[in-house]
């Protein structure tokens, strides 16, 4: 553990004017890394809360550690030996006298057992209760809750499908025929598409059930699967929810996250383009009803599919802060992490939140986020870890960048390849897209391939500008080879490379000796060795 240099104000201090400036907590532990850890630490510090960071060995010198008042080492790089170690995280919180733990997203954020352990230790888990996480984390239970709340869930089963009873096969197939093909076999404990199987014909169903159950059992330790109609084409639209411990629940607008690849979101925006005020109100109202029925508190997101007939179908609830929460903040001007802390400390939702929720039916701003990741969009978005060289992120009016990356940083292969979230906002969607194009032009990254070419493509796309969104958008539109995007860039790059060599770049003379210590191995070679040593886990 290292002590920070700052002497924080503490939980209760006096402002200059003599009024009490009471923070929701004296000290919180942030159980995450990267941009989200930094974002949470910033919100905490804005509230006068002392922060405790946790880190794995590869993150010891990272920005989130530096930003916190205290830092505790968890273990080696693999998440299973560091950020996923619930016992070590809780122990760190107890040893540093933290009163609350903010889990961020990913890692331990949706583990009901972790939330319960935090509660049992007398600490506050900044998020929904362990009971709510448990009941909503089971997708079948969530579907039953939606049914109870009168919210239409994607048509399908409400109970686990029988997988290994030959006498039940006919019954399962009869149910499937009723739902209609093609359908999806989904894991009750699932997420990220794991345990999911697409089935087009009845005769393929038994095998898909068995395979989905086996994959789900190995990934989540729970082999329960169920059937769901495949809704296609569809848009993915989700509602940001905030609920206090007094039972007040509000919807802070929706986000369209249709641009996905293999269930990984790439671009998100708020509000969802093209919804009528009635549709927007209906959507928010359904989400709030569901949250009330589930006894949901703190921050959560209800996900829906919006079909070609303009109907909403409930998909699932994420009981945590979302990666894309920032677009909602840009539209509503509400700091969601700050609200999370206040709610966790027991304060009722403030008048500003209530007012923002009331205004969410007719939003006056539009925000778009693109996820900049260390992935190669020409090679199926395969993760490409490495060392970042130049790193310049955009700024200026209407631009927000959430990142914890600095020039020279190594993007480790052990974690999610997300390195920055670029968000833009303006009064109109058109204006936001123009700002996105401008901001993308300001991005300068060398050393690793990123998803920036894809985002530039989206920002320039006529269909995207027209709001023609679908979860199949990426598959239908993104083909960097056919569109000559990459080859045009290669033609420019080749000329520049030649010009640089003619100008003497890399000449093994004095110029290079000045720039590089010959005893030090090249950054590329080093990065290559590092990449070879620890391949990406998937």
């Amino acid at each position: 553990m290292t002590a920070g240099p700052r002497s924080a104000a503490g939980p209760a201090s006096l402002r200059k004017d003599g009024t009490a400036n009471v923070a929701p907590f004296g000290r919180v532990l942030v159980a995450n890394r990267g941009e989200i850890a930094l974002r949470i630490i910033r919100a905490a510090r804005d509230l006068g809360i002392e922060t405790v960071a946790v880190y794995s060995d590869v993150d010891a010198n990272s920005v989130h550690v530096r930003a916190a008042d205290l830092a505790v080492r968890l273990g080696p790089a693999p998440a299973g030996e560091s950020y996923l170690r619930a016992d070590a995280v809780l122990d760190a919180a107890i040893r540093t006298s933290a009163q609350a733990i903010h889990p961020g997203y990913g890692f331990l954020a949706e583990r009901a057992s972790f939330a319960r352990a935090v509660e049992d230790a007398g600490l506050v888990f900044v998020g929904p209760s362990s009971a709510a996480i448990g009941s909503l984390g089971d997708k079948l239970a969530a579907r039953r809750l939606a049914h109870e709340a009168g919210v239409p869930a994607v048509p399908g089963t409400l109970e686990p499908a029988s997988v290994d009873r030959p006498d039940q096969v006919d019954a399962v197939i009869a149910t499937a025929v009723e739902i209609g093909f093609p359908l999806l076999v989904k894991a009750a404990a699932g997420g990220g598409g794991r345990g999911m199987r697409r089935v087009e014909r009845a005769e393929d169903l038994p095998a898909a059930l068995a395979a989905g159950a086996a994959e789900s059992a190995s990934a989540f330790g729970d082999g329960s699967v169920y059937l769901e109609r495949e809704i296609r084409p569809a848009r993915h639209i989700e509602v940001q929810l905030l609920g206090d411990t007094a039972g007040t629940v509000v919807a802070l607008g929706e986000r369209d996250c249709s641009l996905q690849r293999r269930h990984q979101k790439l671009v998100e925006e708020s509000p969802a383009p093209g919804l009528t005020p009635e549709e927007r109100r209906e959507l928010h109202e359904m989400a709030v009803r569901l949250a009330r029925t589930a006894g949901l508190t703190n921050a959560a997101t209800a996900e829906f599919l919006f079909d070609a007939q303009r109907r909403f179908w409930f998909l699932e609830v994420n009981t945590r802060l979302q990666v894309e929460h920032g677009v909602t903040e840009l539209v509503t001007d509400i700091d969601l992490v700050r609200e999370q802390f206040w709610i966790a400390a027991g304060r009722p939702l403030g008048a500003d939140v209530i007012a923002a929720a009331e205004a969410a039916g007719s939003p006056r701003r539009h925000a778009i986020e693109v996820r900049i990741a260390a992935e190669d969009p020409a090679r199926g978005f395969a993760p490409v870890p490495g060392r970042i060289g130049r790193w310049t992120m955009p700024s200026g009016p209407g631009v927000r960048v959430d990142t914890a990356v600095e020039p020279g940083n190594r993007v480790p292969p052990d974690y999610d390849p997300l390195i920055a979230k670029l968000m833009v906002a303006d009064t109109t969607r058109e204006g936001a897209i123009a700002r996105l194009r401008r901001a993308l032009d300001e991005c300068e990254v060398t050393g690793i391939q990123t998803t920036l070419p894809f985002h530039r493509f989206v920002a320039d796309h006529v269909g995207f500008a027209a709001g023609e969104l679908s979860t199949d958008w990426v598959v239908e539109h993104w083909d960097p080879v056919a569109t000559d995007l990459r080859s045009d860039a290669l033609a420019v790059a080749s000329r520049v490379a030649a010009a640089a060599v003619w100008a003497g770049a890399g000449h093994s003379g004095a110029a290079e000796a000045e720039q590089r210590d010959p005893a030090r191995p090249s950054a590329w070679r080093q990065a290559g060795r590092e990449a070879a040593r620890d391949r990406w886990p998937r």
């Binding site: 060289g389 130049r390 060398t446 070419p453 080879v481 010009a499 290079e512 590329w524």
Partner: protein
């Protein structure tokens, strides 16, 4: 290695970083007239339509045969192998010749150094033995003897005494 300044260059993605269909191009200094340095590590290029492109120059490594250059354009990152075009030709021809030789075809002897032909020791139609002197090239004030890589008959002699030859120029064909 020899300086690459002002010589035609062959540029294409390094083998480990290329995708099928990636173009390899030969560029002469004239092709770089529209390319200018634009601050530290940045270059600008004006294309035929008058549009300006900005490119980021990352790391440049010296390789055995040239340079490995990292360039990022419009978010696309390339690792480009930049080699002397004549030398790259030579390597390619040598590979072709090796294959041809294995098949017993004629052998092209090409200049492996630029310089001036000082002497020609054989005539068309002569039978030569492997290792026999073919001609003498002066380069950097040194006399370099060029010898037959294998036995055969001299089918063609391209240069004359006093000619200046460049890297990769055809000198002699042995049948």
């Amino acid at each position: 290695m020899a300086s690459l300044s002002r010589r035609p260059l062959r540029v294409g993605p390094a083998v480990t970083a290329s995708l099928p269909g990636d173009a390899v191009v030969d560029l002469s200094p004239d092709d770089a007239l529209a390319v200018e340095p634009f601050g530290e590590g940045r270059w600008s290029l004006r294309d035929a339509t008058g549009l300006d492109h900005t490119a980021l120059l990352g790391e440049v490594l010296a390789t055995k045969s040239g340079r490995l250059v990292e360039v990022v354009v419009a978010g696309w990152r390339f690792e480009l192998a930049v080699d002397d075009a004549a030398r790259a030709d030579l390597v390619e021809r040598a590979q072709r010749t090796n294959r041809a030789q294995r098949r017993g075809g004629p052998l092209e002897v090409r200049a492996i150094i630029p310089g001036r032909i000082m002497a020609i020791s054989v005539a068309v139609g002569d039978a030569v033995a492997a290792g026999q002197q073919l001609l003498v090239v002066e380069a950097m004030k040194m006399q370099n003897e060029l010898r037959a890589p294998r036995a055969g008959t001299v089918e063609r002699i391209a240069p004359a005494i006093g000619d200046t030859i460049d890297l990769g120029d055809l000198l002699i064909v042995i049948g």
